[in-house]
């Protein structure tokens, strides 16, 4: 996890389920409202999990991009 002024990069590439959602949960625990979490993953299951997570926690998914194997999810923390 790499944090620079309210922006946290969570690199979960190469780790399969539940790696990415574990890493996101840890980042969420450390976040504040207004922070942005950028999650990198290669496990396709991450999309469904992150969507369910955002619905449950009322946080905002700004974008989900796929380039080759890499999935990039940008999340804005709007509720803590």
């Amino acid at each position: 996890m790499n944090q620079t002024s309210g922006r946290t990069l969570v690199d979960s590439r190469g780790s399969s389920c539940p790696g990415p959602i574990t890493d996101l949960a840890i980042a969420y625990r450390r976040s504040k409202v207004g922070d942005v979490i950028e999650l990198w993953a290669t496990d396709p299951g991450v999309k469904a999990d992150v969507n369910a997570w955002a619905t449950k926690t009322s946080n905002q998914i700004v974008s989900i991009d796929e380039t080759g194997e890499k999935i990039t999810v940008i999340i804005r923390i709007t509720k803590r």
Binding site: S16, P18, R29, D43, K56, E69, R80
Partner: protein, 391 residues
């Protein structure tokens, strides 16, 4: 003779010390504990009054040529290749292997220290597991809330094993009808990895265990007996069984970025070399590798490091094989690796017997003498690599 310094006298450190060739290495182990606890037994101490010998003297588990010193390591300088202890002794090394495990930290969650001191848990120590057992004995009906309070956990099936064994215990004592069992988890589903969840979810339904997903413990109010989650939910309890968050050993590293925020060591996931070093390694729970924290991993990693130190190429493939007691004399195994996601495996009586048998051979396995048998087991149960799967 090369000086191999091992920090930690638990599963990983002991297997490694016993695996190194005494003609090649002068082996020193530094450990802050005297007793080696067989941690999986805490589950049975808490939920079924197990009274087997679960702690043995660390010295008795080591080959005679291993030099064991009981002292707590306070700092490690990876640049100067030295280790300093609480007693102020400085140890230079040629090779370093850190196997300091991880321990619970109740201070991270407001209210947790109070309820942990009162009710105990089954991941911290033998004393805490006995305390939990005492409270389960005194339970006469009401709500038991059980779960992990942070995503980092020793032995991923252990929270579910706890709830399933609680259910079994309450049924045995005729208290199940007057009790509510609530299982909470920070994950989207009861078992974090979907294929295994397909096995677990029906079991929980069948046993009338309520599940609260996405429940990341924020604080506990011991007076009003309520657990609150970051996600905005709450659970009222009569008996709380809360697995505390875990952190790595409190050791000062130079350079400081060798560890993450929770003191887990950052290492290469294949060679287990600590970031930025060529001669310092980590095995077991102490690392931040993307694999389960389990004794099996510590064992396999110790074997990899022993090979590398002896000049043979070896890599760790992330392999795990965690036994999972589903109650009523049945069990299964959670098997996976970096490349092969966890697969679905139904609970059977045989697998439960295998888990029970392992408790008997654990102490011998630390000697390394059973390695050929383990090699066969791991080969036979090797998970299949998947190109791209959903989970």
């Amino acid at each position: 003779m090369k000086r191999a310094l091992i920090v930690g006298g638990g599963s990983g450190g002991t297997i490694l010390a016993n695996s190194l060739d005494r003609h090649e290495f002068e082996i020193t182990m530094l450990s802050s504990s005297f007793g080696h606890l067989f941690q999986p037994a805490l589950l049975y101490v808490a939920f079924s009054h197990a009274r087997a010998r679960v702690v043995r003297d660390e010295r008795s588990l080591l080959a005679r040529h291993v030099n064991l010193l009981h002292d707590e390591v306070t700092s490690i300088n990876l640049k100067k290749k030295t280790v300093t202890t609480r007693n102020g002794v400085l140890f230079p090394y040629d090779y370093l292997v850190v196997a300091t495990g991880m321990h619970t930290d109740t201070s991270q969650i407001p209210g947790l220290s109070e309820i942990n001191a009162e009710f105990g848990d089954y991941h911290s120590s033998l004393a805490k597991a006995e305390r939990l057992s005492y409270h389960l004995d005194g339970f006469r009906g009401g709500t038991i809330a059980i779960g992990q309070s942070s995503p980092i956990i020793k032995c991923p099936p252990s929270p579910l094993e706890g709830v399933l064994l609680t259910d079994q215990l309450l049924r045995k004592r005729g208290l199940r009808k007057s009790s509510r069992l609530v299982y909470f988890t920070p994950y989207p589903r009861p078992y974090s990895a979907e294929p295994m969840n397909e096995v677990v979810e029906p079991l929980l339904e069948e046993r009338d265990i309520e599940v609260m997903t996405f429940f990341d413990v924020k604080r506990i109010d011991p007076i009003n007996r309520t657990i609150f989650s970051i996600e905005g939910d709450k659970i009222e309890y009569d008996l709380p069984i809360i697995i505390p968050p875990f952190v790595g050993a409190n050791i000062l590293y130079e350079p400081a970025d060798a560890v993450d925020e929770d003191h887990f060591i950052i290492a290469d996931k294949s060679t287990l070399r600590i970031k930025g070093t060529g001669d310092a390694f980590v095995v077991g729970d102490a690392s931040n590798l993307p694999t389960s924290k389990a004794g099996v991993g510590a064992h396999l990693q110790a074997k990899v490091v022993a090979k590398i130190l002896s000049g043979h190429p070896a890599t760790f493939d992330g392999r795990t094989s965690c036994p999972f007691d589903t109650g009523d004399g049945r069990g299964t195994f959670v098997i996976g690796s970096y490349e092969a996601p966890v697969t679905k495996a139904r609970p059977t009586r045989i697998k439960h017997l295998m888990k029970t048998a392992f408790q008997r051979i654990y102490w011998i396995s630390l000697r390394g003498t059973l390695n050929p048998a383990f090699d066969v087991y791991f080969k036979l149960t090797a998970p299949k690599k998947a190109a791209a799967t959903g989970n």
